[in-house]
């Protein structure tokens, strides 16, 4: 591991709480990191030491904000079918989604960060799903849980949306019919990894806009859903 691309980190003494190094795990785009003004001697610890640094922590702003965000992703439980049962199991004691900071299921879109679409999305429900997604505040993410939410699943019919990504941009797809709670937790961890890597210099919804544009270019799918 290289700390900010300059010096190897000596963290023998301070391995318990090495905050900048912890953030650095997620700063993939090293070219954007400003170089240190003074070269660091190789024996200097690179880590947070309250005796030396006091109350000041040096880190990157986006790493910090993303750290806050990714550890309290409040879900909007969009439970539409049997996948919602597994979603409930993921929130209950045996699997306990609160270990990952997502136990606060909010049935109010303005207080939630990630919409977990758990189940079959029918055309009758489609605009309601879209409306709730639109009501969620940025930044927001979507997990498509199970075969139906991802692709329409076994419902190849006139009544079922063939994948919720035809309505809202999806960040993580979970396979399974229904997926086990572990699979949902894995999806949540993958989403956390994604959230931690989101650069602030890019508009939060830029990738989303790209996705919407790509979707509009495909003629078999709804170009723009008027809500």
């Amino acid at each position: 591991m290289t700390g900010f691309g300059v010096e190897p980190i000596a963290c023998e003494k301070n391995h318990k709480f090495n905050l900048p190094a912890f953030f650095d795990l997620f700063s993939l785009d090293l070219a954007t990191v400003p170089p240190r003004l003074t070269p660091m001697p190789s024996t200097t610890e690179f880590g947070y030491d309250s005796k030396i640094e006091g109350d000041v922590i040096h880190t990157r702003l986006d790493a910090t904000l993303n750290w806050f965000r990714k550890n309290s992703l409040w879900p909007m439980p969009m439970g539409l079918a049997c996948c919602a049962i597994e979603l409930m199991a993921a929130g209950a004691s045996r699997f306990d989604i609160s270990r990952f900071g997502s136990e606060v299921m909010r049935f109010s879109p303005r207080q939630s960060d990630v919409m977990i679409v758990a189940g079959t999305v029918t055309y009758k429900m489609a605009l309601a799903v879209r409306r709730i997604y639109d009501q969620m505040a940025e930044p927001k993410w979507v997990i498509a849980m199970g075969a139906c939410a991802s692709t329409g699943g076994m419902y190849r019919s006139y009544a079922v949306v063939q994948g919720v990504d035809k309505l809202v941009p999806v960040d993580v797809y979970v396979a399974g019919c229904p997926p086990r709670p572990e699979a949902l937790l894995d999806a949540l961890l993958k989403l956390q990894t994604k959230v931690a890597r989101e650069p602030l210099t890019q508009a939060p919804n830029a990738s989303r806009q790209n996705e919407e544009a790509a979707r509009a270019a495909r003629p078999t799918e709804p170009a723009a859903v008027q809500v």
């Binding site: 055309y123 009758k124 489609a126 605009l127 329409g152 076994m154 190849r156 019919s157 006139y158 009544a159 079922v160 949306v161 063939q162 035809k166 078999t220 799918e221 709804p222 859903v225 008027q226 809500v227």
Partner: protein
């Protein structure tokens, strides 16, 4: 349960059979009701005039004790005339007999009287038939679509409606798109010896 006579809640043996009840019904409505047809112990009566359905249903409920309307279903006899068949499934908790009534409705008319005044539960059954098959029920208190939204232009359970659906747009209300069938529909064959034979696959009968 063949050969075992049903007993009511007081332990009294019930001697009524569906055939007896059907014959009793024909005493009053012999001119419009067919001979009872028995198939696997189930009795079906065909009503030749759909306009009489309310009278017949009221008689089955009040005089014959069919106090439970189990279901109303509809059949699309596509390519034949009359096109639609409406099927009423009746049951009586007192005598524990089932009875099935059928009546035909032509495509030009596509209308028959509602029986929601006889059994209130017919309200939603008739709404569903209207929604899926496009047959209207005259005098229905609230004949709206029940599964699709108002303004959806098709009747999805008709035989000439493709399984993959048709695209539609009702701005602000709903939309539909065609589902990719990929050579389907996917058909499940029961009784296969392994999962590969049983699971849903593309099976075209002409191939």
């Amino acid at each position: 349960m063949i050969g075992v006579k049903p007993i009511d809640c007081h332990g009294v043996v019930i001697d009524m059979t569906p055939l007896d009840l059907a014959k009793k019904l024909r005493e009053n409505f012999g001119e419009v009701l067919s001979e009872p047809v028995e198939f696997r112990g189930e009795i079906t009566l065909k009503l030749s005039d759909a306009e009489r359905i309310v009278d017949v249903c009221a008689a089955t409920k009040k005089e014959l004790g069919f106090d439970y309307l189990v279901d109303i279903t509809s059949i699309d006899n596509y390519g034949e005339d009359p096109r639609f068949t409406i099927v009423y499934h009746l049951y009586g908790y007192g005598h524990r007999c089932h009875l099935r009534l059928k009546t035909d409705v032509g495509e030009e008319k596509s209308e028959l009287p509602t029986i929601s005044g006889v059994w209130r539960t017919a309200d939603w059954h008739e709404r569903e038939i209207y929604d899926m098959m496009g047959v209207r029920f005259r005098g229905h208190p609230d004949l709206r679509r029940i599964l699709m939204w108002d303004g959806y232009p098709y009747f999805p359970l008709r035989k000439d409606f493709p399984l993959s659906g048709k695209p539609s747009d009702a701005p602000g209300t709903g939309f539909t798109r065609t589902a990719p069938l990929e050579g389907g529909p996917f058909v499940t064959v029961p009784g296969g010896k392994d999962t590969i034979e049983r699971e849903p696959r593309v099976r075209n009968p002409e191939e």
